[in-house]
């Protein structure tokens, strides 16, 4: 690889763009010296993060656990429901609208109730994450399964394939790209769910840290939590991308 193309590749990468922004941020703060209430310097954020590092790490891990568990449950439930709705018109017509309605209810309102129902435990936070995850996964699984190529279905029928064989060998693989879209939406919402769930209970977590920082008017701490959330978000999306690359690597015909 020539030197010139390596430089262009570095210049083009997203990491470089982010680095550029970070640099611009630090320089802007130095140059314009805005009030730290409005825009703290990146270095100040880093210092504050370091000062509470053990707590930050513990909170990060706890929120990560809640998010991943809630996502796993929501994804499994969502896929199952999507499958049932694909093959049972009656179930789709009756139960799916309830799903839609459930999403109009702001989960935050349930916060207190969920703590009452599930106690101030891990399960409560997992439940809030689950609640936000299952819907996009259901919708996209349903869409993916329904968009199965009817000509391929006819081909399989001509081989004498049963419904189950068609489901396993044709419907599921052809729906995977769309299911992945749903999972990507779900994992972002799962994170929101855990954070919001943490507001309603005195446990450990990034949501709790956020609340504490807000109540204690610790502005720089707010930014620290924001960046930590961003890091977790990117970690989750990145993990999902890896899974996607292993499961859905084929190029489907246009």
């Amino acid at each position: 690889m020539s030197k010139a193309s390596l430089t262009t590749r570095v210049l083009r990468s997203s990491a470089f763009a982010l680095l550029l922004v970070a640099l611009a941020w630090e320089l802007a703060v130095i140059a314009f010296a805005p009030s730290p209430r409005y825009l703290p310097a990146l270095s100040a954020i880093g210092r504050d993060a370091w000062s509470v590092w053990p707590q930050l790490l513990a909170c990060f891990n706890r929120t990560l656990l809640e998010t991943v568990l809630g996502f796993a449950l929501g994804a499994a439930f969502g896929c199952a429901c999507g499958t049932v709705f694909t093959y049972s018109r009656w179930m789709e017509r009756s139960v799916f609208p309830l799903f839609v309605v459930s999403q109009t209810v702001p989960i935050v309102a349930f916060g207190a109730l969920i703590v009452i129902w599930f106690g101030n435990s891990l399960l409560a936070k997992v439940m809030t994450a689950f609640f936000l995850t299952f819907f996009p996964v259901t919708v996209n699984t349903l869409r993916g399964l329904k968009s199965c190529d009817p000509q391929r279905i006819a081909l399989m029928r001509s081989f004498g394939a049963s419904g189950l064989v068609m489901f396993v060998k044709l419907a599921v693989p052809s729906a995977l790209p769309q299911i992945m879209v749903g999972l990507r939406l779900g994992i972002g919402l799962s994170l929101i769910g855990s954070i919001v769930g943490e507001w309603f209970g005195e446990t450990v977590g990034l949501g709790v840290m956020l609340m504490e920082a807000m109540n204690g008017d610790l502005v720089v701490r707010l930014w620290v939590v924001m960046v930590a959330c961003g890091v977790m978000g990117m970690l989750l999306y990145g993990g999902l991308s890896l899974i996607e690359r292993r499961l859905v690597w084929w190029r489907s015909e246009a």
């Binding site: 009756s94 919001v196 960046v227």
Partner: protein, 256 residues
């Protein structure tokens, strides 16, 4: 044409019936569970009491609903427009996409709720902070969807237009934008319930009015009946808005 409409009517009727049945079943289960398991009202209030409470506080709740709706609509419109403009800019000027998109993705990795405190600091407790939050959430959704829609234009169609001497803006206006409509409409649909929820969450963290504020205060006073009535209002409003959008969608995007 008339035959088609009456067929549609009967079809929609047959879609409503199963929903109605299951809603009734759900309501019956609700009341039944309370009666059977002797559930205390602070865990699960009776439906009648929720409706009664909502009705008797109708004025206060509708006032709060208006405040929330104002924020939701404001953020929704602003976010959709900005998201679309940014997507178009990215298609016209490639370097913008290369620099801004990774930043936007990183910014969006942070859950919207985490931004709420910062926005409250920047814009105060008034509606502006909530509008800002909603703009961010809706804007990113629109950006991603619109960008995908604009870029999916057939390469050979683009070349055809270039052979006619069309400018980049002309291609965007005549080819890419109409082709991106379905993706944009998807973004618009997803953003409706989201706007409401982000508005309420924002209000819960700090606001002068709105349904989220009502929910927060009621939670502090452990007045769960108020919480449920506020939730009922929010839910109904969200459904009406969504239904409105679906109706508009069918009228506007009639060629599908």
């Amino acid at each position: 044409m008339v035959a088609k409409r009456s067929l549609m009517q009967s079809l929609s009727k047959s879609r409503a019936v199963p929903v109605v049945i299951s809603v009734l079943v759900l309501l019956a289960l609700w009341e039944g569970a309370i009666a059977l398991f002797d559930i205390p009202p602070f865990v699960l209030p009776r439906l009648g009491s929720i409706v009664h409470h909502a009705a008797s506080n109708f004025g206060k709740l509708s006032g709060a609903l208006c405040a929330t709706l104002l924020e939701a609509v404001g953020g929704y419109v602003l976010g959709s427009v900005l998201g679309l403009l940014l997507a178009v800019a990215m298609v016209l000027v490639k370097p913008i996409e290369r620099i801004v998109l990774p930043v936007a993705v990183a910014v969006n990795s942070v859950p919207t709720v985490a931004y709420a405190p910062i926005f409250l600091i920047w814009f105060g407790l008034g509606p502006a902070s909530k509008i800002g939050l909603i703009t961010l959430a809706v804007g990113f959704t629109m950006l991603v969807n619109a960008l995908h829609g604009l870029k999916q234009a057939d390469e050979s169609a683009v070349n055809l237009m270039r052979s006619f001497g069309a400018s980049r803006l002309g291609i965007v206006w005549r080819l890419r934008l109409p082709g991106a409509m379905p993706a944009m409409v998807t973004a618009l649909r997803i953003s409706v319930p989201r706007s409401m929820i982000v508005a309420i969450v924002g209000e819960m963290l700090g606001a002068y009015g709105g349904l989220g504020r009502v929910i927060y205060e009621s939670t502090q006073q452990i007045d769960l009946l108020s919480v449920w009535s506020a939730v009922l209002f929010a839910s109904v409003a969200s459904m009406v808005a969504y239904g409105l959008l679906v109706w508009i969608d069918q009228k506007l995007v009639w060629w599908r």
